[in-house]
Amino acid sequence: MTPPLSVSTLTAGFARHPLLRADGLSVPPGTVVVLTGRNGSGKSTLLRTIAGLQEPLSGEVLLGGVAAHTLSPIQRALRVSIVLTRRPELQGLDVRTLVGMGRYPHHDIQPAAGNDPGADDALTQCGLIGYGHREVHTLSDGEMQKAMIARALYQDTPLLLLDEPTAFLDREARVDMMHLLRHLASNRGKAILFSSHDLEIALDAADLQWDIREGEVVILPVSHRS
């Protein structure tokens, strides 16, 4: 079976400033991979390159076995979704509408203010039961991050990327977030790649660790899981 993500001989970074090389990496369904590395080592760059938000300098990102650069924006959005570190500042938007935006690549966005059972289901998966009518700007950072994940879940892609999803969260919310990622991988079969500085908590949820060392992505096994 083709993994949702595989990477071969990839160089990522900026034209005059290549940051990292990655070779022979893949994320099978149901797997959580934590991406680690020092500040500026290129974690975000790698995630952006995989998400197609940035062109690779050379090499290939395969999404479900298809070269990412041959995909249209919609096709790509059906294969990979991303959650960024910073929460977007939004006024006058309820959580259900936010989550409903995830359907954009599927061309079946609900009409304004309609019921959206799919959005509610995604919220339930993310532990936000009954949050549909809440105004987005009243959410805590942790709740907002989960709402953005629910939106990505509703986008319904085999691969989910998260760029430092726990950066602005307190310890309790970080542990909570890791449980959520584990749940989505184990029970929904998502392939999940997220970057983190918080190794102790992250390794609890992860099956694999990709560490960026001197411009090279190194695969490290995570021992506690068998």
């Binding site: 924006p73 500042e89 006058g92 203010a113 309609g114």
Partner: protein, 343 residues
Amino acid sequence: MAVSPLLRKTMVYCLSGAVVLIVLFIIGILTGPSDFAPDQLFRALAHPQPGDEVVRAIILEARLPRAITAMASGAGLALCGLLMQSLFRNPLAGPSVLGITSGASLCVALLVLGQAALAWPAASSGGPAVVAAGILGAAAVLMLVMTASARLGNTTSLLLFGILLGHFVGAVESVLQHRAAATSLRSFVLWGMGRFTETPLPAALFLLVLTLAAFLVARRMAPALNLFMLGETYARSMGMHVRRFRMGVVALTGIVAGSITAWCGPVAFIGLAMPHVARLVLSTSDHRALAWPLAITGAAAGLLSDLLARWGSVPLNAVTSLIGAPIVILIIFRNGSFLRRTP
């Protein structure tokens, strides 16, 4: 299926707005230098008797086009305001921000103020030459902005580009004004004050159809406009073709704002303020819910401003600024976090 609160609110808003709109429209038709009774109006239009020609002429050639223009322009400018605010993710953006009204303004200034200096035959205010100059100017700036948009790629630079262009054009105009003859200066200044009076019926109907079409397009774009609220990165990650989207919004705004400005002058504040009014009343930023209520709000604002300007015998832009500026200030104070948002 239960009707959600937002949908109910939107429907109530649209219905009550439509009633206000119709009332304002009728007042606009019936009142003026000579007031008509409704039955007189009806008779003159439906079963004209000898002697009704004057009434017919006043209605068909002055008041009807004026009311239609006010409605169409108000709604059109409000839509441009919404589109600009969404595109730049900046609550203080408006149709004049892209420099489109400035471009129209410059070309009209060149024509009206230049004709005296170059001894061109006098172009009357609101004449076809002025309209053509306005559209030409708007179109030229639109081309410029589209090129800049493709080059600059990010919205903040585009916003700055528009503002600086506006300043540049303003400077050129003040040079022209300084050297202009008194008569041509007067007609340019009148255009610059905004008016819904210089639009013949076919032009008014054109603006109406254009605005309606623009709202239909905008309603179709609503999901994309919503996505863009999350920022460019999220929008792209969800499959949006951001460059194409940006071009589309710029083109739509340019055509609508350019045409309106050509006939009505640079009408202030309606475009900037009305989206805030609609958002505030419906307490949502969801473009799918906002589109049609905004059309009605903008149309009513256009009609009301025109009526107030007429009753007070003051320029249109004085009215729109006197009412629009406090609304915007109020909204800034009520909703300070709007301005603190990071791009």
